[in-house]
């Protein structure tokens, strides 16, 4: 009897051990940490994504000025392996100017590892940007960022005698024509642009060589030189204000009282920079239209990258899907939030819809149709990991030159020193 009892006990124990060893689905974490540099995506996330029960989402937001965001993020990523499961970054946001740095590293993980598949509706360049040199994709973009010229209709009417997009486009479809219109605008007492760097992206995005060559030499593309020459002329002739791209001095020009005709930006620009234009009292909703402008370009874009070590892979997959293939969400983002989403089916539907028009800020023009055409040509090339610091540094240092407080030579020297201090490995011309 005793023996039988012992055997029974042992058998029970064995069963329980085997039962314990049965493979279970990977345990999902209870805390989801997201690094971001502003509140833009946070807004969409909170509006459209239903967080699974019991999961807390932590937003760690640092501004991107002077590279602060990247520094904080790098610090956290380098510590990722040692961090407690709940403190590990699960997802972080990256911008076109520096996404390569993270995609190429081991700190981001293959999206297929947690079962996400890129949809054929995603824009090709957004996938290329999020893939490393071997073609392994590490994240997705929730937006596509073809950029246009956003102009004030009333000012265009006064300057050109027309505010119809096709005719305005015909008047500014090359930089020579754009300059000529700037002179006309000046005569009428308007500014063509409100920031010395307003046209920067239109030039820099068409560069034919990267900022830094394979031997780490800093190089100036002809497009950058062309931008400097144009801005010199614009400042000298009073065609533009000398404010920075993000300055209040510039955004004040978007009030109804503003005197500036053209702004350069993609769809995210509406919500991000044009709040003054949408101000219920002093704004000028409906006085805006968009056209391609002198040169097609794209600007920025926010990619969501999966951080290696995340214990919330199901949620990652879910989020990625919500913002790339969930058509209900994406349609609402277009209609209500003025976004140009990363789904060709959705944007095509809007572009071909004769009843669709943007009335949140534009005059009812179908801006998606314009962006749809522009987005076809976007290519991902000539990007380096240094772009943010170099673009920002060049603008900051040259702003002083354009404002007249230093000469060009000094401004360039200050820029080279700035680069040297930020990136020890980049070889700059003798400063």
């Amino acid at each position: 009897m005793k023996k039988l009892f012992t055997i029974l006990i042992v058998a029970l124990m064995l069963v329980s051990i085997v039962a314990c060893q049965k493979p279970k689905p990977a345990e999902q974490g209870k805390v989801f940490n997201i690094y971001a540099w502003n509140e833009e995506f946070k807004g969409f996330f909170e509006k459209y994504y239903k967080v699974p029960e019991g999961v807390t989402v932590n937003w760690i937001i640092n501004p991107s000025d002077n590279g602060v965001y990247q520094q904080k993020l790098d610090e956290a990523l380098l510590n990722q392996a040692n961090a407690a499961a709940d403190d590990k970054i699960d997802m972080f946001l990256a911008e076109a100017d520096y996404i390569g740095k993270y995609v190429e590293s081991d700190y981001t993980m293959d999206v297929t590892s947690f079962g996400f598949k890129n949809a054929s509706t995603q824009y090709e360049y957004t996938i290329k940007a999020a893939s490393d040199s071997k073609g392994v994709c590490k994240g997705v973009s929730f937006q596509c960022c073809p950029a246009a010229v956003i102009y004030r209709k009333s000012i265009a009417k006064d300057v050109l005698g027309t505010d119809v997009p096709e005719e305005v486009q015909a008047a500014i479809d090359s930089w020579e024509k754009f300059d000529a219109v700037a002179a006309q605008a000046k005569e009428k007492g308007y500014y063509m642009t409100a920031s010395f760097a307003e046209t920067f992206r239109a030039f820099s995005n068409n560069c034919t060589k990267p900022w830094v060559d394979e031997n780490n030499n800093l190089q100036f593309d002809d497009q950058i030189t062309a931008w400097i020459e144009q801005t010199e002329k614009y400042v000298q002739n009073g065609y533009t204000l000398t404010a920075g791209v993000w300055d209040q001095e510039k955004t004040n020009e978007m009030f109804a009282t503003g005197k500036t005709m053209c702004f350069f930006g993609p769809a995210w620009y509406y919500n991000f920079c044009m709040n003054n234009a949408m101000d219920p009292n002093d704004g000028c909703v409906g006085d805006w239209c968009i056209v391609k402008g002198p040169q097609a370009y794209f600007w920025g874009g926010t990619w969501l990258l999966a951080a290696t070590g995340s214990d919330n892979t199901e949620m990652l997959k879910d989020i990625f899907e919500t913002f790339t293939v969930n058509t209900d969400v994406l349609k609402s983002m277009v209609k209500d939030d003025n976004q140009y989403v990363n789904n060709t089916d959705v944007v095509k539907e809007f572009a071909e819809d004769p009843n669709y028009g943007n009335t949140n800020i534009l005059d009812g023009q179908n801006d998606i149709a314009v962006f749809y055409e522009l987005a076809k040509d976007i290519k991902w090339e000539n990007h380096t990991n240094y772009d943010q610091i170099l673009n920002e540094g060049l603008q900051n240092k040259l702003q002083e030159y354009f404002k007249g407080s230093v000469d060009k030579e000094t401004a360039m020297k200050n820029f080279y020193n700035y680069v040297k201090e930020q990136y020890n490995n980049i070889i700059v011309p003798e400063a």
Partner: protein, 332 residues
Amino acid sequence: MKKQPEMQGRVKSISYAKWGYIFIIPFFIVYILFTLVPQFLTVYNSFFENYRIGLTQVGPNYVGLENYKALFTPQSDGTILILKYTANTFILWIIGAIPQFVIAMLLAVFFTSGRLNIKGQGFFKTVIYMPNLIMAAAFSMLIYTLFSKVGPIQLFLEHQGIIDKTFDFFAYRVSVRGMIAFMNFIMWFGNTTIVLMAGIMGIDQSLFESATIDGANAWQVFFKVTLPLLMPIFVYCFITAMIGGIQMFDVPQVLTKGDGLPNETTRTLVMYLNRYLSGASRNYGAAGAISVIIFIMTGVLGFVVYKMLAAQYQEKRSAPKYHRRRQRGENA
């Protein structure tokens, strides 16, 4: 008769000194861990190549004095950047420190003067100390907003026709340096006033009285009695203010967004250090070397200033002491 020395002996043998040591142990532990060790580490780091390219770490490799050499390598036009930023730092500090000390001294004398007998001193002291309670960065942000191109001062002056639309306070060396000096002055003169007042109140009142009876006027009292006797406190104030000045960072950093506008004329040593340390490169080597240079500079200047200013009062003070000792010796 015999008991007395015995008792004295016993009392002397109880040592309270150990409690003194015990009480200061926490300070020394914190100081060693968080100040002394990092200080040595900084020196150590300055001899290494140690920076990042993106997420890739370079070094640490021992490079000897290379980091120092790089800092003192002149540019193509002959300027040595670190010297330029040192000059900026001192200019910014001096133009703020002169009004700071003059006004503080004046106020300290007024407040302690028995003749003026100013009412409501508590109120004034609080008010002049107040700016020091604001975080420097916040104060700097405030001034930036006031003087920015869309700020109220610009708009007011434009409206009055005093300046035109193209005027920019941040495009002129004089105005930006002026703003920084002004902020430092406003923030620190209250503190200096209170310390100097304490110093003046520590001077024996009878000296002022006897000077007045001897017919000295206010100027003579100030220069012949107050100032010489205030010297130890004044030197303390001056040296601490100087150390603070050499480390000037937050005010110009926030005001000029780290760029030291215009043309880096308001870029201080610590701002220079900061870009190496917290910039994209995380260059501990270069940042360490700058820190060591700042440390040496502070030490040397502190010593020189102390010797120069303190020499006078030391002579005056030690003379009577020596005299007294000798007298006592003769009596014994």
